[in-house]
């Protein structure tokens, strides 16, 4: 293998009855990276994680960890540890015993065990809590104990199954940053699954967007945002407006689209194989839309829209408008540049065509 | 786990269960059924026949006791439900904090003593030389000693006492799980006390009611000590007759037939109770 990768899979398939929950998944996770699998519930991401942990077996395909084939290795023999969705801290044991559980299974002597438990607790920011019961801890503390229980074993690969789901919003934001720091500090390869795109974007080096058992796109967060490979990714990662229309002309990787109300707008082609006359969908982000009067910046395109309502939400304030029956959202900057909008007012929304993406209709 | 290992573990766990249920429950009961159809012609010859069951129907003493036992058990069950429901309601819905736990534990007190001890306690209270009699005399309400034991009322007092625990516990458990908003919604939508009780509370508590009633009925029907020790000369109980056939008369065939009849009665009532209320045994007991 060319690169040193901690985890690589090829052609993984897991079927339940007729449907394949995991359908031809191949992936490659380089050592020391934070790899996220992002997808809506039911997309097969939990099944994939269970295949990696060894709680389930693939029908086809292979799993390699540091080049070792893992298919027939039972879960307790894999160099993989997992932070479970509900953490699965043993309620009958203290924090120290929870963390020492794996060490004990490896027959680490008691004195050494105590030392390593104390050290890892310090590393996750919970020094001296060995004797507490997991039930007495706060949500964030339990989270860290669950992490420490895995990290103390120094696994090649740490799997995390939506561990932040149970936390409230504030704590979640805080833990996101902290997880990222911990991953850097320990240098362990993380495979993190989530349905929350913000979690995936903030923490990951690489994100795989999963849908119906397949990967739609595997890329760094910024690329997912700027260059979504499929309409699904465009719609799932970040907010997006979808405008459907008909291709008029194609040139230089750019496409002119005639919207249903007759206006012609422009966007960058995201897919090949489109020709003029085809139905197409143009995705443009609310934050790319600008309010203009008559003057249009060079190279920009614009469309008319009618204001339906404004939604005030601090920095995330938006205006909801419509264009020929298609809903359009645009960001309302709160720096005083946004116009005062009344319901029913006609506005012009402009954007840089390089920031809009055009896909063939029905391609999703 | 591979297929053969999981088959092995299934059989390892299934075997003790099957041994228990077959050797201690199924086979003995089938044998009892078989024996009930046997007629002893001499000390070592047996024939098949319905004689034991004919005896039951022709001997009015048998079937009268049978009907009496059934009716009194039903009445006791109903009375226990009536007495227990307000108590369970108070514990589950009105009491709070510590008093809730303490009251619930207090309901378990009779369980600390066996049926024999409980019955004995009632005997000390109710008999002619008992406490109630002495107190009534001390108050000057009666002139001489009063015998309150050895009648049907005494039997029912004792039986209800034995059953209360088994009624209160399932009732508290189901009522505890009820969302108070349901009751509030009932009133909010214009229901009165009776309507809310009938249409909201009782349907919700049904699994608890049925499970309590089944257990109390079974216990009452099968009880032996209370009716024997507290009942009068004419308040015979069916279990007593079974006991007599087996222990005193050594007439196993007749005893088995009476046993089968009691079992049929109890199964029938349990089945009927479940059918009428639309519950299943699994939901109610398990």
């Amino acid at each position: 293998m060319a690169t040193e990768s901690d985890l690589s899979c090829n052609g993984l398939i897991r079927r339940f009855g007729k449907t394949a929950a995991v359908d031809h998944i191949s992936l490659d996770v380089p050592a020391g990276t934070f790899f996220s699998i992002l997808g809506p519930s039911g997309c097969g991401k939990t099944t994939l994680l269970r295949l990696l942990a060894g709680f389930d077996k693939p029908d086809e395909g292979d799993i390699f960890i540091r080049g070792q084939r893992m298919n027939d290795v039972p879960p307790n023999k894999r160099p993989v540890n997992m932070v479970f969705q509900h953490l699965a801290l043993f309620p009958t044991m203290t924090v120290g015993d929870n963390i020492g559980y794996g060490l004990k299974r490896r027959k680490v002597p008691a004195a050494e065990r105590r030392k390593r438990i104390a050290r890892v607790l310090e590393q996750v920011g919970l020094p001296g809590l060995e004797q507490r019961n997991p039930q007495e801890l706060s949500g964030g503390q339990r989270q860290r104990v669950a992490l420490a229980r895995c990290l103390v074993l120094e696994p090649t690969l740490l799997l995390l199954d939506e561990p932040l789901g149970a936390l409230d919003l504030k704590l979640r934001e805080q833990m996101k940053v902290e997880l990222k720091h911990l991953q850097k500090q320990f240098g362990t390869t993380f495979v993190y699954i989530t349905h929350d795109q913000s979690e995936a974007m903030v923490m990951s080096d690489q994100v795989a967007v999963m849908k119906n058992g397949r990967f739609e796109q595997v890329a760094p967060p910024e690329e997912l945002y700027r260059e979504p490979a499929t309409p699904f990714v465009a719609g799932f990662v970040g907010d997006n407006n979808r405008l459907s229309g008909e291709v008029v002309t194609l040139a230089d990787n750019m496409a002119d689209i005639r919207l249903d109300n007759g206006e012609v707008v422009r966007g960058r082609l995201a897919a090949n194989g489109l020709s003029s006359g085809d139905r197409a969908e143009l995705y443009v982000r609310p934050e790319s839309l600008m309010f203009t009067g008559e003057a249009l910046k060079d190279g920009f395109c614009a469309m008319q829209a009618k204001v339906l309502t404004t939604l005030f939400d601090g920095a995330n304030s938006r205006v909801e408008a419509e264009n020929g029956g298609q809903p359009v959202f645009a960001r309302l900057p709160q720096d005083g540049t946004a116009p005062r909008l009344t319901t029913g007012a006609e506005i012009r929304l402009a954007w840089d065509p390089k920031l809009a993406r055009v896909y063939g209709a029905g391609q999703s | 786990m591979n297929a053969s290992a999981s088959r092995l573990s299934l059989w390892l766990l299934l075997t003790p269960f099957l041994l228990w249920i077959v050797l201690l429950v199924l086979v003995p009961h089938l044998q009892m059924l078989r024996v009930s159809f046997q007629v002893r012609e001499s000390w070592d010859t047996l024939a098949w026949g319905l004689e034991q069951y004919q005896n039951f129907f022709s001997e009015s003493y048998y079937w009268r006791t049978f009907v009496r036992t059934g009716v009194m058990s039903l009445f006791t069950t109903f009375l226990t439900l009536l007495i227990a429901f307000p108590i369970a309601w108070y514990i589950a819905r009105l009491a709070r904090g510590r008093s809730k736990g303490i009251l619930f534990l207090a309901c378990l007190i009779p369980f600390w003593a066996s049926e024999l001890v409980r019955t004995y306690g009632w005997m000390i209270l109710l008999r002619e030389s008992g406490l109630f009699s002495s107190w009534l005399q001390a108050l000057g309400w009666v002139d001489g000693p009063v015998e309150m034991l050895y009648n049907d009322v005494a039997v029912i007092i004792g039986l209800v006492y034995n059953g209360l625990l088994f009624m209160v516990v399932p009732l508290v458990t189901t009522l505890d799980g009820m969302d108070e908003n349901l009751v509030e919604a009932g009133y909010d939508l214009g229901g009165g006390h009776a309507t809310v009780l009938r249409e909201v509370v009782i349907p919700w508590a049904m699994p608890g009611i049925v499970s309590g009633c089944i257990v109390v009925f079974m216990l009452t029907l099968g009880s032996y000590l209370t009716p024997i020790l507290m009942g009068g000369k004419d308040s015979a109980w069916f279990t007593e007759q079974i006991f007599t056939q087996f222990i005193t008369r050594f007439n196993w065939e007749q005893g088995a037939a009476l046993g089968v009849l009691l079992l049929v009665l109890s199964s029938l009532m349990v089945w009927l109770g479940l059918k009428l209320t639309g519950q299943s045994l699994r939901k109610v007991m398990g």
Binding site: F55, P74, P75, N76, V80, F84, A88, F90, T92, Y101, R105, R106, C150, L153 | L13, F17, W20, I21, L24, V25, V27, P28, H29, Q31, M32, Y90, R93, L94, A106, P110, F111, W112, A113, S114, E115, L116, Y120, G121, W122, I124, L125, S134, Y161, E180, E184, H193, L197, M218, S223, Y224, L225, L229, I242, F246, G255, G259, L263, S267, M285, G286
Partner: protein
């Protein structure tokens, strides 16, 4: 009816009165039984003759024999203890196995077998005793008649009593342990495997500690149920009478305060067992 719905004061007063009456009804027989264990009179009835410990301690020299010198009652107590020990052991072991069988495994006919498991709960205790007597004692008789072999285990006596009680106490133990196992999060076992434990080690280090409070609870309950049982026991007992049967025989001869003394002793033991179980639950 509930706290948030207003009630009249009269209703509240009546309700409170009812509650008080109810708990008096519950406590009175037991209280009376307990008190008369210390009355210095040969009959457990009024008038109160003063406090005495004779009904526990008297050695028979003054015409009174207290519980601790009454060999037949002490013997019966010992028989009951032995029976309860074996019943507890067998029914809790069976209960554990059944709980795992019904809560963790999937197999054909499970629903039907579960109903079979519940069956002993809806069979009157007398019938359980009778059927076991008829089958086992009957078999012993037949074997003796046909081949001249004596199967004394199957004659009325301790083994038969244990079998009879195990029949229904196993169901109760299964329900208690099964209810706890149902609340067990399977992910905990997976977590143990994930941390390097073999399935067997995971069972003993994670699942069993979780079940322990319910196992102890089931054991305390089984012991009490066995100790207090009369209906099944009376049909199956042989020459070594257990305590409840011995008390019953005494009671038919006439009541003496020794019976009160035994009753109080039993209540105290039961209460201690119950407290022990509650403490277990509290800490578990």
């Amino acid at each position: 009816m509930i706290r948030s719905v207003p009630r009249s004061r009269l209703f509240d007063a009546l309700y409170l009165g009812y509650l008080v009456a109810f708990f008096v009804y519950l406590a009175l027989p037991l209280l009376v039984t307990a008190v008369f264990a210390f009355n210095d009179s040969p009959f457990p009835s009024l008038p109160w003759q003063g406090f005495t410990l004779d009904w526990y301690l008297a050695d028979g020299s003054a015409g009174r024999t207290g519980l601790f010198h009454d060999d037949s009652l002490l013997g019966a107590l010992w028989v009951s203890t032995k029976i309860a020990f074996w019943v507890t052991l067998a029914s809790v072991a069976l209960g554990c196995v059944n709980a795992v069988l019904f809560e963790r495994l999937q197999f054909r006919g499970k629903e039907f077998l579960y109903l079979l498991m519940l069956l002993p709960l809806v069979i009157p205790g007398v019938i359980l005793g009778v059927s076991i007597l008829v089958f086992y004692s009957g078999t012993a008789n037949e074997v003796s008649r046909l081949w001249g072999i004596e199967l004394d285990v199957f004659r009325p006596g301790m083994p038969l009593v244990v079998m009879g009680q195990v029949t229904f106490i196993t169901t109760l133990a299964t329900l208690v342990i099964g209810a706890r196992l149902r609340k067990f999060d399977r992910q905990l076992e997976e977590a143990a495997l994930n941390l390097g434990a073999t399935p067997l080690v995971a069972w003993f280090t994670v699942t069993l500690p979780w079940l322990l409070p319910s196992i102890l609870g089931a054991a305390a309950m089984a012991f009490l149920m066995s100790f207090e049982n009369f209906n099944t026991t009376v049909m199956l007992t042989g020459s070594d009478t257990p305590l409840t049967v011995a008390l019953f025989n005494r009671l038919r001869e006439g009541s003496t305060p020794v019976l009160n003394a035994v009753a109080l002793f039993l209540m105290v033991v039961s209460a201690l067992l119950a407290l022990f179980t509650l403490r277990q639950k509290g800490s578990g």
